[in-house]
Symmetry: C2
């Protein structure tokens, strides 16, 4: 009899795990159970479908179940929810009471949006943008019309991506943020160009503000913020997620950081025969040197591959994460890598930081734009611990440079001394990265 892998969850972590398991062991029987109707789609692309930049929902789908069956010999079953695991017997129970036996189990159940504990937060017009189903609901609400005014709750990357999508659909959008300023994950001077883009888009952001309640009002909603009320057509929540770890926990899998399923560097949980990966699992942090929970699509696919390789008998070892993320609003790219000074200090480093603004290209070229770079390093060792970048032009790949440097444990002087190329229409003589790194080391050659 063929050894059987059951995968619970049919998106980034689950399907990359299944595919890697297939590559590692051509004889494995592989069954993927997905509770929703959709598999193998880009959740991170949903705001761009809502916003109209991606024309069709189907553009976000990499492969359908038929592809996996015919091309990969992987059985993908949608509409099947795993409600329990009998680890001793090696069985998964589905919502219909069916028992699916496994030799290896990969739990890739993802994360779910957290609705803040506010009256009315479950009302029909309070929407989220997390998966295909929720995106369809939002799209249907927008198509039904008339929706003219929306409130976005939270101004992190998720909130701002949702806000931009709604702006593209012609809505007036305002946002509230409980922190004292928008995009609090970034240092104030790094967030500044994004805040300027919010202003330019005509988006009012109420900071230090608290959502107190939501009530239905005909086809719309009345929202109470800091004691005042306003009438809106819809509310979009961008207030974070929580790991779907309950089924694994009930089977005895130990939980770790953030309440996620604790896994080792090979993706193994504390229970023999059960692996976990992706947004439902912890991940090793390269700088903190401990497990963290930082759900990101990149981590999910990488962890899925590691677990899929390990459970199929191959060599899998997860190098670790830096929590690298990026986003964009109004043509301004932004993102972060590694530690900020507060976290670095808690972790026992002696953090120092510098912020410098440069240009994406030579200043005399038409259309050059500012780029702000923040670098955080450890004072005694000079080791680069993290960085943030925001601005126009090539922001993403500059964040890549910082990721590479932080991940490799390089000293900040390495960035100051790097021999970076230059040509006026693509990159300036002194890159913003080098201006910041040069300032960090007291200027540089």
């Amino acid at each position: 009899m063929r050894r059987r892998l059951v995968v619970v969850g049919g998106d980034a972590a689950g399907l990359s795990g299944a595919a890697e398991a297939r590559r590692t062991d051509p004889d494995l029987e592989i069954v993927v159970l997905e509770r929703g109707p959709d598999v193998s789609y880009s959740a991170c692309g949903l705001p761009y479908w809502i916003g109209g930049e991606v024309a069709r929902e189907s553009d976000l789908v990499s492969h359908d179940p038929a592809y996996f069956a015919e091309r990969r010999d992987i059985e993908v079953r949608t509409g099947v929810e795993a409600t329990g695991i009998d680890a001793a017997a090696g069985r998964v129970w589905t919502q219909d009471g069916e028992a699916v036996g496994y030799d290896a189990l990969l739990v890739a159940t993802g994360a779910r949006p957290v609705r803040p504990p506010v009256p009315g937060v479950d009302l029909h017009g309070v929407l989220i943008l997390r998966d295909m189903v929720s995106a369809r609901a939002l799209n249907a609400r927008l198509q039904r019309g008339p929706a003219r005014r929306a409130l976005v709750v939270g101004t992190g990357a998720l909130g701002l991506e949702g806000a931009e999508a709604l702006l593209r659909r012609g809505l007036e959008v305002e946002a509230i943020e409980v922190a004292p300023r928008a995009l609090p994950a970034l240092a104030e001077p790094v967030a500044a160009p994004v805040v300027a883009a919010l202003d330019a888009a005509g988006m009012e952001v109420r900071t230090g503000a608290k959502l107190q309640g939501i009530e239905p009002d005909g086809d719309g909603l009345v929202v109470t913020i800091d004691g005042g009320t306003r009438a809106l057509d819809l509310v979009l929540l961008g207030t974070g997620v929580a790991p779907n770890a309950e089924v694994a926990a009930a089977a005895g899998c130990a939980l770790g950081a953030g309440g996620a399923i604790a896994v080792d560097r090979r993706g193994r949980t504390s229970v023999e025969g059960i692996w976990a990966a992706g947004d439902s699992a912890t991940a090793w942090h390269l700088v903190l040197e401990r497990d963290v929970w930082m759900p990101l699509a990149t981590t999910a696919t990488r962890q899925g591959r590691v677990a899929g390789r390990d459970l199929a008998g191959g060599e899998g070892w997860f190098p670790g994460v830096l929590g690298s993320w990026m986003s964009t609003f109004g043509g301004v790219g932004f993102g972060a890598v590694g530690l900020d000074p507060a976290v670095a200090g808690q972790a026992g480093f002696v953090p120092r930081e510098v912020v410098r603004e440069g240009r994406d290209r030579s200043g005399y070229m038409p259309g050059t734009r500012p780029i702000v770079v923040r670098l955080v390093w450890d004072d005694p060792t000079g080791r680069l611990l993290g960085g943030q970048v925001a601005g126009g032009g090539e922001v993403a790949a500059r964040l890549h440079s910082v990721s590479l440097a932080v991940g490799a444990g390089l000293e900040v002087r390495r960035l100051a001394e790097a021999d970076l190329g230059y040509v006026p229409p693509l990159a300036p003589l002194r890159d913003p990265l080098q201006l910041a790194a040069g300032a960090a080391v007291g200027d540089a050659p």
Copy 2:
């Protein structure tokens, strides 16, 4: 009496050296001698002024002599050529027979274009694009009109930047290249998107072709290529440069790689009291661990700073170069860092290479473009030795990532394992850098 620094050459290396010397020693007397009429301008920006993207010649100028006099206490004298150095007496002779005494001398005399040894190559209509004077001559020729057809000799970065400028001015442009294909500095699959852009621009490129002679023909030229003749209005040479090392050599300075002035990591020549920097000097190569001659504006400014600091009594140490360069043609960015396999093999490495094509952003986003990445590494150690990148989207900063990795001596697996950020409109889930690095290490987590 104040100690006096004399700098010969008033562009990138010379003026960055003078400025850094001033920062290091506020009491130094500093005199800069520049044989031409212009100082402190961006030579790399000249093609974009010729092409019209940069509106005014003056946009390329950072500072004029008055700025240096008033703000930096640096005397900049234009139209003064240093024709000899008396190192024993500490004097520079100018073309007018004037003796300018120095305590420290910084030779930053740059490089000059090499005209191929072909009859007629010095004719009036055979132009170059190297400095302000030659750019003005080219611009004057184009303004005088009628110039409809141009031949560009050489298809390296210089040739292609010149070609694009002429295309923007409305000329029909063809090019010849002595190598069997265009842009021979890049591997064929990396050069491919640039070659496609040349095709799209309607530019005929004759490869494996030899320029045999140029003759005047009324207001134009008749050019002989591989035995055939063609009538043209102008020829633009993009056939490389040679170091201006003669005056320093006559003063006893040892020459090194490429016939350039040999300098140590502090910018010192073999003659006491004489420093050199920039296109006229050698530079330490980080991977080859020997001196090379690779004239680039980035190297010039960095070497200038190091020498300026050292000669003024500060701490200067040049980290080294990787020959990192980049350019762009027809919206396609391209460039290279470090060693190609041939050079790596000669240097005693066991080179391996991989080429992979990815996308600049998620494939479903509108306007995504391919990016080709080539990585070269040392097989026994896994150390990354070099890389080349070409394509659309963020090419420059991806080259930065490769520079950083090669310069820090990282293994190629570091790039494969890096935790790079992702968001569909800025960067794909798996970056082209990681596709290539993953392939190099037999795929990766």
